[in-house]
Symmetry: C2
Subunit: 178 residues, 2 copies
């Protein structure tokens, strides 16, 4: 603790701070992992589609789907917590460039939302449509029990697929710069 | 919003609520994933050590290590944020039972900490010893930029290894009951 500590702490524990910078950082790290995968493809004369279509086992989703789901999780999270419309992105990407564009669009949307929109988001009612019905959450449980586990699931699974394909990446590529 | 909303919201956005229940839930889900993996081993007459030693690629850590690291991440997180001693667990597990015991011990430690210990944890100085030096964080950045990404990384990688070995699990086994 500094003797010159300001009255208002520099660190604020609130829904915005727990959501926006965390999601943006994870998405930037995902972009970085894709860069590593693409460089590996180029350096080894491989087909990009073999990397983008790679999966950990045949009935699990491919790298391209993990990126789509990570971005869907992130944009849906901020839209629902901030109470704004969730933009719809068609799942049509077939190249690294298109995946980067999707990530960039998602980050742009997340950053476009004012901090004030997240005031009271912890008690906001969130409804998710899923196969066979609806899931109902309060905002806080949605964030901690659904959004964050899902977001890191898809980024980590992207990491696992890329690593499984022999690309030289390590934990710091996943955690990102500090 | 209810017309009868109490003055104090039922949901509190604080360091304890963002840490303790989130870590406990992830560890319980990890335990559940191990149960699924063990049942698959038994049902198919496989060797437990082949599952526990499985990895996504030869130079990546095995399932047993992912469980050790998930628990290390969780116990270190609460110890550092609450300002108490971090219990040391030797990395000696070789069976599913021993991994469950490690997870249970970790959950017991996490739950033993009073909520009050986390007051002001967002600005607490956290130092991590890593190869080649030290990492310095404020508590909030440690939680959102290190603990949560790492915890979900190791649980998801455990999931990925188990799934890669052909065990029938799905996203709900990872997310856990609501």
């Amino acid at each position: 603790m500094s003797l010159l500590a300001p009255e208002k702490p520099a660190v604020s524990v609130d829904m915005y701070s727990m959501t926006v910078p965390v999601l943006v950082r994870a998405l930037k790290n995902l972009s970085h992992l894709l860069d590593k995968a693409e460089a590996h493809v180029e350096d080894n004369g491989l087909k990009p589609e073999d990397m983008l279509g790679a999966r950990l086992i045949e009935d699990m989703l491919a790298l391209v789907n993990q990126v789509q789901l990570a971005t869907d999780t992130a944009k849906g999270a901020v839209a629902r917590l901030a109470g704004v419309e969730n933009p719809s992105f068609a799942d049509i990407e077939t190249t690294f460039d298109e995946l980067h564009q999707r990530i960039d669009k998602t980050i742009e949307f997340i950053k476009s939302l004012d901090r004030e929109l997240f005031t009271g988001a912890e008690t906001r009612d969130v409804t998710l449509k899923v196969r066979g019905g609806e899931l109902h959450f309060k905002g806080f449980d949605y964030l901690t029990g659904f959004v964050l586990p899902n977001l890191f699931f898809h980024v980590t699974t992207a990491y696992g697929i890329i690593r499984h394909k022999g690309v030289k990446i390590g934990k710091l590529d996943y955690l990102g710069p500090r």
